[in-house]
């Protein structure tokens, strides 16, 4: 009890006790004295005794005041200084002035504070340094993974994805189903992965000094369209005996395998297929040679066989050489190149020169070629044309025609004669291209080159190059997000176990897709349509900025100007966008088995559900509504618009994103995450709890509406 009183109060009590003792002791002393001396002394004793008593009490009071001021107060200041110093801010410092009556205590505390401060500073510096190093390594790892030419997937033992890189995305991303904490079985046919895992974990169990940790895997994508080949390695716990996850590094070998199969077929055809016709020829020839005195009829028949078979053989050879050309040139290392990148290289080569000027026209296109040799060839040809025709300005333009991308070089002047062009192409390039000639370069690209005049009166030189092998159209979800690094991994998922019943699981643990739609109006049953659909995923309480879904939709009807005022989406913007029948199934894959969250979810869900039948998908996911949750958390009579909630929670929506489906989805997701924290404080922990309060709010609101 007494310990709880403040120091000041205890010291006060102590002095108060002394002050009380003064009249008591003095009074009783004088009482005895009066008894001995007699009643005549009483007035004197009272007068002097009283005076002495008051003086003494005054003295005690004065000492107390001084003591309080110079000792107790400084001790209190020092205590609170030391507390601040220890718990929050080491730079707080200690003032010695108030503690000057405390002897060496204040200077000692000050010295300690200084020592603590410098220790803390050093520690902070070390932490900063270490953090910087980790950050650097992390960035390096991210860069390496991102730009690695192989796809990388890291999964836990439940086959949930913890990490993927850009290449994996390119190889496996067809419908938007790749994502953190999604099952790998959405992407790959799993039996061969399961088998490799079984094999490797089996190896671990057998007591072996050096078990294998990786195995070769070949499997197809879940849609069966691509074959991937790669390596599967186990991630082991610190005991080196239990696997906690696995890494698959892989590449798309579909084309390689097809090419190999084709090569095999051609070789087989060349060897086996020629046996029979050659046998026929040889047998007939030997018959003719061995039987000189054959009758004319017989000879004529054998000659027929010879002519027929030679004919047949020539045709076979022709076919074979055609096929052979296709595969034999397929092996020059080439990659998909963006025409503007390549043509800019050409332009830069003439930058320093006054005599030749190059311009790039047209829209850039993707093509498949060896960038360096094409740049060298183009540069040389431009120089030669300039020399020959004294043209000074050249326009370069990529054009897509049928199955080729034409690089057109255009100038005002004469055409180049074919013989001239041939002689240029026969000259070899120096060591940068290992002495290749222009002809070699063209051969590698299965290309021919020619010069022709076109309707605009200009001379053209046309170089057809193969089309890009891969689809380079932008992915449906925005990889770059709205700033910041995309998050490709979450190793916390390694320990994520799925054994809880869904509704009993903590709200923080669930995977959510927070989404928003922009529409032509408010009444889906009156023919209003979705024109934009966006979503963001929340996994492990984190918004995955690398996995946005954001897609404009062609509604197939006019967009009223009144709605364009809100979302700024015009008819021109959606005219070349896919219809909802393409977008909704993709979004369905994107959502997977996540909980769907929206601000005023009933509205958005109504739009989605109107389209379910025509798109062949059903959204039967659990749904949460941030409006209802807000009504529960805050006063239900307050406003719950997204703007109000964002302001209340300090979530900033950049002006350019407000009223875009993606911007509102991100804002709703941010608000939702903060709500989860608040709900926790109110005892709402599980998904079932959240649904219960939502239902209560629906009930409450419908009652309100009745009055």
């Amino acid at each position: 009890m007494i310990e709880k009183w403040s120091l000041r109060f205890r010291v006060f009590l102590f002095f108060a006790l002394i002050a009380l003792m003064v009249p008591a002791l003095l009074g009783s002393a004088l009482w005895f004295a009066a008894g001995r001396i007699g009643p005549e002394s009483v007035p004197h004793l009272v007068l002097w005794g009283g005076a002495a008593g008051f003086a003494l009490i005054g003295l005690v009071l004065w000492v107390w005041l001084k003591f309080d001021d110079h000792v107790v107060a400084p001790i209190n200041t020092l205590t609170s200084d030391l507390q601040t110093l220890t718990h929050t801010n080491a730079e707080h410092g200690i003032e010695t002035e108030p503690g000057r009556y405390l002897g060496l205590l204040a200077p000692a505390a000050r010295e300690m504070a200084i020592a603590l401060e410098s220790a803390q500073k050093k520690l902070n510096q070390e932490i900063e340094e270490a953090t910087r190093k980790v950050e650097l390594q992390r960035t390096r790892l991210e860069t390496t993974l991102r730009d690695l030419n192989e796809g990388v997937l890291v999964c836990n033992m439940n086959h949930k994805i913890l990490l993927y890189n850009r290449r994996a995305l390119n190889i496996l991303h067809y419908t938007g189903e790749i994502g953190l904490n999604r099952s790998v079985s959405n992407l790959l046919s799993t039996p061969s992965i399961a088998h490799s895992l079984e094999y490797l974990t089996g190896q671990l169990e057998i007591d072996q000094s050096e078990p294998e940790f990786s195995a070769h895997v070949v499997c197809s994508t879940s849609d069966g369209r691509h074959i991937i080949e790669g390596q599967l390695s186990l991630i082991l716990d610190s005991d080196e005996r239990t696997a906690t996850g696995y890494v698959v590094t892989f590449d798309d070998v579909t084309e390689k395998l097809a090419e190999l199969a084709k090569r095999d077929r051609i070789l087989r055809d060349a060897v086996e297929g020629l046996r029979a016709p050659v046998a026929n020829l040889r047998a007939a020839t030997e018959m003719l040679i061995d039987n000189e005195n054959m009758d004319d009829e017989g000879r004529r028949q054998f000659e027929n066989v010879l002519s027929e078979e030679s004919d047949h053989l020539s045709k076979r050879l022709q076919e074979l050489s055609q096929d052979y050309r296709e595969i034999v040139t397929g092996h020059w290392p080439m990659s998909d190149v963006y025409s503007s990148t390549l043509l800019n290289c050409v332009v830069r080569r003439f930058k320093a020169e006054d005599t030749i000027q190059c311009l790039i026209n047209g829209d850039p296109l993707w093509m498949h070629c060896d960038s360096l040799s094409i740049v060298e060839l183009t540069e040389r040809i431009i120089r030669k044309i300039a020399e020959e025709t004294s043209a000074t300005t050249f326009e370069l333009e990529p054009r897509s025609e049928k199955d080729k991308v034409f690089i057109d070089i255009c100038w005002a002047g004469e055409l180049v004669r074919s013989g001239m062009l041939d002689s240029w192409l026969s000259e070899s390039f120096d060591e940068c291209l290992k002495g290749m000639t222009g002809h070699d370069i063209l051969e590698n690209h299965k290309a021919v080159i020619w010069s022709e005049a076109q309707a605009d009166g200009m001379a053209y030189l046309r170089l057809p190059l193969p089309l890009a092998k891969e689809d380079h159209r932008p992915l449906s979800f925005d990889l770059h997000g709205t700033g910041g690094r995309p998050e490709f991994y979450d190793f916390d998922l390694l320990k994520n176990l799925d054994n809880n019943q869904f509704s009993e699981r903590d709200l923080r643990e669930l995977t959510y897709v927070v989404f928003d739609t922009e529409t032509t109006g408010l009444e889906p049953s009156d023919g209003d349509e979705i024109i934009q659909l966006a979503g963001v995923r929340i996994v492990n309480g984190r918004i995955l900025s690398g996995e946005y879904f954001n897609q404009l939709v062609n509604p197939g009807c006019t967009i009223p100007a009144s709605s364009t005022d809100i979302h700024h989406i015009t008819e021109a913007m959606v005219s070349d966008q896919p219809p909802i029948t393409d977008v909704l199934p993709r979004f369905h894959d994107y959502v997977g088995d996540a909980v769907m969250v929206a601000h005023n979810a009933a509205f958005d869900m109504k739009f989605l559900q109107m389209k379910e039948a025509v798109c062949g998908v059903t959204f039967d996911n659990p749904v949460l509504d941030t409006v209802l949750l807000s009504a529960y958390i805050h006063d239900h009579s307050k406003q719950h618009t997204l703007d109000v909630l964002a302001e209340r929670f300090g979530v900033e929506i950049e002006a350019q994103y407000r009223h875009t489906a993606l911007g509102d989805s991100i804002a709703t997701a941010e608000v939702f995450l903060r709500m989860i924290d608040l709900m926790k404080a109110k005892g709402i922990h599980t998904f079932a709890d959240a649904v219960a309060v939502s239902e209560k709010m629906v009930e409450f609101r419908s009652q309100q509406a009745r009055y």
């Binding site: 086996e272 046996r275 046998a279 047998a283 007939a284 066989v305």
Partner: protein, 127 residues
């Protein structure tokens, strides 16, 4: 009496040459253009030797070979396989299915005649 040889091949040009070759070597020749036709001919009459192509429509040489070996009446008919399939595995397959010799196309006509003579001689020795 001259020995009878059945030539089975779907390419008339090779049948023509081999037929000429065999006749010149003093054999009587019948020919079939595919496996089924060959089996029909074999049902009527058993020749002294069969020259059998492998890749043929309807019934291929391997099937014919296996059927012949399973037929008691035909089981010791010498079979010479003549095939454009020249891999070791295929040669082994032909021989295991019961062919007595396997010659890959293209072949030397001298070698073919020699092999035919050899097989016929061995058979008559066995008898």
């Amino acid at each position: 009496m001259s020995k009878k040889i059945l030539i089975v091949d779907d390419e008339p040009n090779i049948v023509f040459s081999v037929e000429f070759l065999m006749k010149r070597s003093g054999y009587e020749v019948v020919s079939a253009a595919d496996g089924e036709q060959a089996m029909q001919l074999l049902a009527d009459e058993v020749p002294d030797l069969m020259i059998l192509d492998v890749m043929m429509p309807r019934k291929n040489g391997f099937e014919v070979c296996a059927e012949v070996r399973n037929d008691q009446r035909l089981s010791d008919l010498p079979i010479l396989m003549l095939s454009a399939k020249g891999r070791d595995a295929e040669i082994k397959k032909g021989l295991s299915l019961g062919a007595d010799a396997y010659i890959t196309k293209p072949f030397s006509t001298h070698e073919l005649v020699e092999k035919v003579n050899q097989l016929l001689q061995r058979r008559s020795e066995e008898e």
